[in-house]
């Protein structure tokens, strides 16, 4: 092995010849590409199977290029987008690229995580460099063979070309020789204007498997000798297990065992159906160990929190009390959202086989590294003894950031000493916790006589919500006197990140409130926002942590494309939000149908930097808008005595095809590096819709879901 640079052992790029010849370039998705250490491995290493890297691109002599994709794929299209970036710089023939999902491997990859819209921004440069490095080596191999300078060579579609002589060699033909070329340390990346693949609409690499029903998901994992398991957890948050009578359950055919651990009663058997039947025959007593809360309690708690003196100050600019004292007009409003279930279409599940020689885990998880570490800790073994293979995730929406079900599967397998597949039913999924927290906000704005916003107050109060504000987001920085604080009620009901955490509702509340303020100031809502942004630009107050020009860019694009202020017979509402690293502005078109407001169309202007895959990106925006719209209008999870009152899609409503408006998507083309798209399209939707409904009906919707609001019922 030859270390070309020695800055860090963890940041490396490996090169090796495969056993059958060919180039294998292993690259790690690590933090600092500049310090990438490269190692050249000899044939024997690979031939003997000792090379334990998983993230690499390989080129076989028959021109097949294999690219491993390390991040969990849950529909955000990473398994297609990542390889596209590598293939772009490699100048590969995309039709000959094979994509393989890599298992968890912390030696080879960093941030094998899906969440926070962060994968492409994090990996953009190192993926490009991985492709470009391999390309450079292929060029040098061809140069050597033809005895010409590498500068005189070009590549196209998987072929190295010497224009002067007309000679050509495919990457496959050059792969073995290229593998012997020293790994270049400083390769030139393409000018983004020369991209051929990035920015195109490329079909999902798993399409064939998905449309023909091939096993892809965690629930599709089957093994010889595997048992099925379901778990009865306490029916209410705040309850704990007291006693179990499993006699009747054990008598059901197919049941192998009933075991109790922590507050769980698990039924293990030979089929999913039989263990579920047996579960219903369990006789379990529970007792309360914490308050059994109901939604009516939360409504009261919100009132207390909003007037509490105990809140934590998140941001303070100027003298907000003085501003409100001298205000010509004050606008105040409160907004509230319910708990939500993530409800990915594939319920939680995991395969675990705990054996004396090691642990095998297979299934859908957004955070495989943490899950493995937690399992190792639980079983008191070294993490190296645990392997974790990732399946395609049937949705995640944040729920699969939490590995509770992985731990359950591992613990259960360790108890029954059998490979097991733990299956959560839909009911388990919906009643089992880790919800989007319920939150209530109070906004106050002070206007001077000319309608300038001179003071702004926001109090965020939530149930297990952490800080439910984003104190440095717009309009912070544009208001002289500002106070943002938050307060939380700690509850036995478990909560967690839900797609676009916090902002999935905060954006609605804030953008709807700004519409109220614009109205009080007698200003056009778009103009009002642009003026605030000008203020933030020309006379910034405190730190500004968003990009003013990018935000203005999407505002102007959305207004232009939607024909803002120019449409007859349509009521339009506006909204703009910065979340994660990207900017999205939306205009909702609402029309009256049979006396009721109906969302006819949503225009979305998006600045996520360079779009990698136009097909994936377009759908990501439409899907985000539909997600935002559906949950704002329909979805609602409530509690009675600590138990969720909704348990399946018959009483927890998700948006369906007939309820979906047209969604037009426009991308800002500014050539900056990608800034992420898994979440940012969702937050603005609720606000745009509520503001449009206000225009159409004169009714302000301040609470979600809209469908339950008296304002909407009386229209």
């Amino acid at each position: 092995m030859t270390d070309i640079s020695t800055t860090s052992r963890r940041n490396f790029m490996k090169l090796a010849a495969t056993a059958g010849g060919g180039l294998v370039l292993a690259f790690s998705w690590t933090n600092t590409l500049a310090s990438a250490v490269m190692e050249v491995l000899d044939d024997t290493n690979l031939a003997s199977g000792k090379i334990d890297f998983n993230s690499y691109l390989s080129i076989s002599p028959d021109d097949v290029i294999t690219i491993f994709s390390p991040n969990p794929e849950l529909g955000q299209n990473i398994k297609t987008s990542f390889p596209m970036i590598v293939a772009e710089e490699l100048d590969a023939d995309w039709t000959k690229v094979k994509v393989v999902q890599a298992p968890l491997d912390t030696n080879k990859f960093e941030r094998q995580v899906t969440g926070g819209s962060g994968a492409v921004p994090h990996s953009w440069e190192r993926l490009r460099k991985a492709g470009a490095t391999a390309r450079q080596m292929l060029l040098e191999a061809a140069a050597k063979r033809w005895k010409v300078s590498a500068d005189t060579l070009t590549t196209e579609n998987g072929v190295v070309v010497h224009k002067a002589s007309g000679r050509k060699l495919t990457y496959g033909e050059l792969a073995t020789e290229a593998s012997k070329v020293p790994v270049p340390t400083d390769v030139k990346l393409k000018d983004t204007k020369d991209f051929k693949l990035i920015g195109k609409a490329i079909r999902n690499v798993d399409n064939y498997e998905m449309i023909t029903g091939k096993p892809l998901y965690g629930l599709d994992v089957y093994r010889d000798g595997m048992l099925y398991a379901v778990i009865q957890r306490p029916k209410a948050f705040g309850m704990k297990l007291k006693s179990v009578d499993a006699a009747a359950a054990k008598a059901i055919p197919g049941v192998v065992d009933v075991v109790t651990f922590k507050n769980n009663v698990a039924v293990v058997g030979t089929s999913t159906w039989q263990v579920n039947k047996a579960r219903k025959a369990l006789k379990i007593d529970y007792e309360a160990e914490a308050p059994l809360e109901s939604s009516s309690d939360h409504d009261r708690i919100f009132k207390e929190l909003l007037s509490s003196k105990e809140a934590t100050v998140r941001r303070k600019d100027g003298d907000v009390e003085a501003a409100f004292k001298k205000a010509a007009k004050v606008v105040t409003a409160e907004y509230q959202c319910p708990f939500l279930s993530h409800s990915p279409m594939e319920p939680m599940n995991f395969f675990a086989d705990v054996r004396p020689d090691g642990v095998e885990l297979i299934g859908p998880i957004q955070t495989p590294e943490r899950a493995r570490a937690d399992v190792a800790k639980l079983l008191n073994i070294a993490p190296e003894k645990v392997t974790l293979e990732l399946t395609r995730l049937g949705g995640g929406f944040g729920r699969r950031l939490y590995g509770d079900y992985v731990l359950e599967a591992a613990e259960l397998s360790s108890i029954v000493k059998k490979p097991i597949k733990l299956v959560w039913t839909r009911e388990d999924d919906m009643t089992g916790g880790t919800y989007r927290p319920a939150v209530r906000y109070r906004f106050e704005a002070a206007l001077d006589a000319k309608g300038n916003m001179i003071g702004y107050k926001l109090r965020g109060a939530g149930i297990n919500s952490g800080n439910p504000t984003r104190e440095d987001n717009f309009p912070s920085g544009a208001v002289e006197n500002l106070l943002i604080d938050s307060i939380e009620h700690q509850s036995p009901i478990t909560t967690g990140a839900w797609r676009a955490p916090i902002t999935n509702f905060l954006a609605f509340a804030e953008q709807a409130f700004l519409d109220e303020v614009a109205q009080a100031a007698k200003k056009d809502p778009v103009q009002f926002r642009l003026e605030l942004l000008d203020k933030a630009k020309n006379a910034p107050v405190g730190a500004i942590k968003y990009d003013i020009d990018r935000m203005k860019g999407v505002i102007n694009l959305a207004a232009e494309k939607a024909g803002w202020g120019k449409k007859e017979g349509v009521s339009q509402g506006f909204s703009v939000y910065f979340s994660h690293r990207s900017y999205v502005a939306q205009v909702a078109d609402v029309v009256m149908k049979e006396g009721k407001p109906a969302v006819d169309r949503i225009h979305a202007a998006v600045d996520c930097g360079i779009v990698v895959n136009l097909s994936g990106a377009y759908q990501q925006v439409r899907g985000g808008v539909i997600d935002g719209l559906g949950h704002a209008i329909y979805s609602n999870l409530t509690f009675k005595d600590g138990a969720a009152e909704q348990s399946n899609f018959n009483n927890y409503r998700l948006i369906r095809m007939k309820e979906v408006p047209e969604v037009d998507v426009y991308f800002v083309n500014n050539g900056i590096d990608p800034t992420g798209l898994g979440e940012p399209a969702l937050p603005p939707t609720g606000g745009a819709v509520a503001n449009a409904i206000y225009k159409a009906t004169g009714k302000r919707l301040r609470n979600q879901p809209f469908i339950n609001q008296p304002e909407l019922k009386t229209v």
Binding site: G213, G254, G395, Q619, F649, K658
Partner: protein
């Protein structure tokens, strides 16, 4: 337990299961046909849709005992002689799937629908597909793919 003989995708299968076992779990746990998905188990989401004698059926709420003499088609049975069904082709061309989990059910609903209504209007497509939930929100593309498949089937 009882032994059931099943006709699935033109082949004969046997399964020794309890009579109340939903066809969904027999397909998945006993026969290894895992393309048919579990989403809700109570006939609400459509992820488990198969064809029984050509009609769309929620296999999670359809006991195996009722399926014994029926002709069953699952997502695995749509391809014929290595060629995708026109609906599957359309799904690929429109690049419908996001996470993909609901799509087998969507495709089975769409194929049954188009076999009865080869010239659907947009509204008829929406009505036919309204029972299938897609949590990822691929509804526009599903609608587009069904319309495209209709033109392919002509």
């Amino acid at each position: 337990m009882a032994l059931y003989k099943l006709q699935i995708n033109g082949r004969s299968y046997e399964a020794d299961v309890e009579p109340d076992t939903p066809l969904l779990w027999v397909l998945r746990d006993n026969l290894g046909l895992v393309g048919t998905k579990y989403g809700c188990g109570i006939a609400q989401c459509g992820a488990c849709t198969v064809h029984v004698n050509g009609n769309p059926m929620r296999s999670c709420a359809y006991p195996v005992s009722a399926a014994a003499n029926a002709k069953i088609t699952t997502i695995e049975g749509l391809e014929s002689n290595g060629k995708l069904h026109a609906v599957q082709e359309a799904w690929d061309e429109v690049d419908v799937a996001q996470c993909g989990y609901c799509q087998a059910g969507q495709i089975m609903t769409a194929t049954a629908f188009l076999s009865k209504n080869p010239n659907p209007t947009e509204e008829e497509i929406e009505t036919a597909m309204n029972g299938n939930i897609c949590r990822c929100g691929t509804y526009h593309r599903i609608r587009e793919a069904v319309a495209l498949a209709a033109t392919k089937l002509k």
